[in-house]
């Protein structure tokens, strides 16, 4: 898919050129014309109309911008889009399949695991990555490995409940 961008000039006033970057996002090819300092987060939100991924602190401290890159959870705010050419990126928009919510999305609803909902896309992407890693065995280990995702509403206990349920059911692939 080629989107009707760039929304920035090809060349900045001080002579820096945009680069053509092809990103694979949610099993779709997106060709972007962007400057090298555009973060993956901004490439998704501002250049690709994928605003599900949230910009919180923009400094890697809150986890709201978590996406999956080649199956691993990363922070899109600290990633330059030009460095992710050829990687498979999955955002919250790519989690549900065939009109069916992902088990974690269902569990978040069931356990009332969000209040304002702002951290939710990052929490869910992060939880998918964590379950795939397969390192957390206990509730304490899940809490530790989800500590990069902050919820300012204080829904953390419900978030861990939702994740524990999906983990215990073992139906997250």
């Amino acid at each position: 898919m080629i989107l009707p961008y760039p929304i920035v000039p090809d060349v900045t006033d001080d002579g820096f050129d945009t680069q053509t970057v092809t990103l694979n996002v949610n099993r779709m090819k997106i060709e972007l014309q962007i400057l090298p300092w555009v973060s993956l987060l901004d490439a998704l939100r501002e250049y690709s109309d994928l605003t599900g991924t949230k910009k919180g602190c923009d400094h890697g401290q809150c986890g709201a911008c978590t996406v999956l890159c080649d199956g691993e959870r990363i922070l899109s705010c600290l990633t330059l889009a030009v460095m992710k050419e050829g990687s498979e990126i999955t955002t919250i928009e790519g989690i549900a399949q065939d009109g069916q919510l992902h088990e974690l999305q269902k569990a978040f609803i069931e356990y009332d695991a969000f209040q304002c909902g702002y951290c939710t896309p990052g929490q869910i992407c992060s939880a998918i990555g964590m379950l795939r890693e397969g390192k957390a065995k206990t509730r304490d280990e899940v809490k530790e490995l989800m500590s990069g995702n902050l919820c300012r509403c204080g829904a953390n206990n419900n978030i861990i409940d939702a994740i524990m349920d999906v983990k215990n059911q073992g139906n997250y692939e």
Partner: protein
């Protein structure tokens, strides 16, 4: 963030050539600290050279009975690598006590050594900081210095080096392998980082244009008796107030060799060699550990808000040495055992 040119390096030589004489060109691998500092305009780069495409430094391999960690392997892959979990669990524990899972998936081993201090005043461009702006003064000396250093400080700087991974690497006698314009060289881990002296803006002995290619760890991994303890203001995802890496080798109930390194207390990962010497051929008792802790902290100087760290570090050493006798009691996030 300043505007910059982005380019990829395809070999170590290519990376070295691309820096050339450009004093303001930088390498980027994981970028977790560099991009952050650039966003705050605390550091600048005219050119960012992406070293990830360079082949040959993305794996963990056995080497001379020990292990070679590729510089571009992520912290997460290192911590969870079967060889590391089995033979160097101290390193695994230390890495997993640092940052968050997302950051560990991005940050590389080479980059971990090059991260910069999290001193509040270094991060606040409105305040003087000799590390950020040489000669401007140190705001931490008379400021809110709770997180600052107590060992090896100078009148110019009392910032601490923030890594957890490096505390374990210091304890394990690692060696850093480097390539640069003048060829290859190796530096003992404990000689890699620098005390502040009157040049606190220079964090380490890596020269401009040099690339870290790998880190070697010798055979002795202390996989039977080890522990990493990290004390901080919250249990997870915070930098250490004080951390301790301990490796013990016991024989017939006697300590044959001890390794103790501290994080959060100095401008470098602080190796307590004088305390280690004391423990050699002694019984692993609380009293002996406490005596070693006294020796290691003997030169410590507290500032207004961080004097508590001196006693905290001593107790952390004792606690961690006792935990090293029972490594199975360790909790997630390098918390004290129950």
């Amino acid at each position: 963030m300043n505007n910059f040119i982005y380019t990829k390096a395809h070999s170590v030589q290519d990376a070295v050539d691309k820096v050339g004489g450009k004093t303001d060109a930088k390498f980027v691998a994981g970028g977790t600290n560099l991009i952050d500092l650039m966003k705050y305009s605390l550091t600048r780069a005219s050119t960012l050279i992406d070293v990830n495409p360079i082949e040959g430094h993305h794996s963990i391999e056995e080497k001379d009975g020990g292990i070679r960690l590729g510089a571009f392997v992520t912290n997460a892959k290192t911590a969870y690598h079967p060889l590391i979990e089995e033979r160097y669990p101290l390193l695994s524990r230390a890495i997993l006590a640092g940052a968050s899972a997302q950051i560990r998936n991005m940050a590389t081993n080479g980059g971990n050594l090059l991260q910069r201090t999290r001193c509040y005043y270094f991060y606040d461009a409105n305040t003087p900081c000799n590390k950020r702006e040489p000669g401007s003064g140190c705001s931490a000396l008379m400021g809110y210095n709770r997180i600052m250093a107590i060992l090896g400080t100078s009148d110019s700087c009392i910032a601490v080096f923030p890594s957890d991974m490096c505390v374990a690497l210091a304890a394990l006698d690692a060696v850093v392998n480097i390539s640069g314009p003048d060829g290859e060289r190796s530096i003992a881990f404990t000689d890699f980082h620098r005390l502040p002296g009157n040049t606190p803006h220079i964090d380490n002995n890596l020269l401009h244009g040099e690339v870290i290619t790998s880190i070697d760890i010798p055979e002795k991994g202390f996989c039977k008796n080890y522990s990493y303890l990290k004390l901080r203001d919250r249990n997870s995802y915070a930098f250490a107030l004080v951390s301790v890496a301990t490796g013990l080798e016991l024989e017939g109930g006697i300590i044959k060799e001890a390794r103790i390194a501290l994080g959060g207390v100095a401008h470098v990962p602080w190796r307590g060699k004088n305390g280690e010497e004391f423990l050699k051929d002694k019984e692993p008792t609380r009293d002996n550990f406490a005596h070693a802790a006294e020796i290691i902290l003997s030169g410590a100087i507290g500032y207004e808000y961080n004097s508590f760290k001196i006693e905290l570090a001593k107790r952390a050493i004792v606690r961690n040495c006792i935990m090293a006798l029972h490594p199975e009691t360790q909790l997630p996030g390098a918390q004290p055992s129950a």
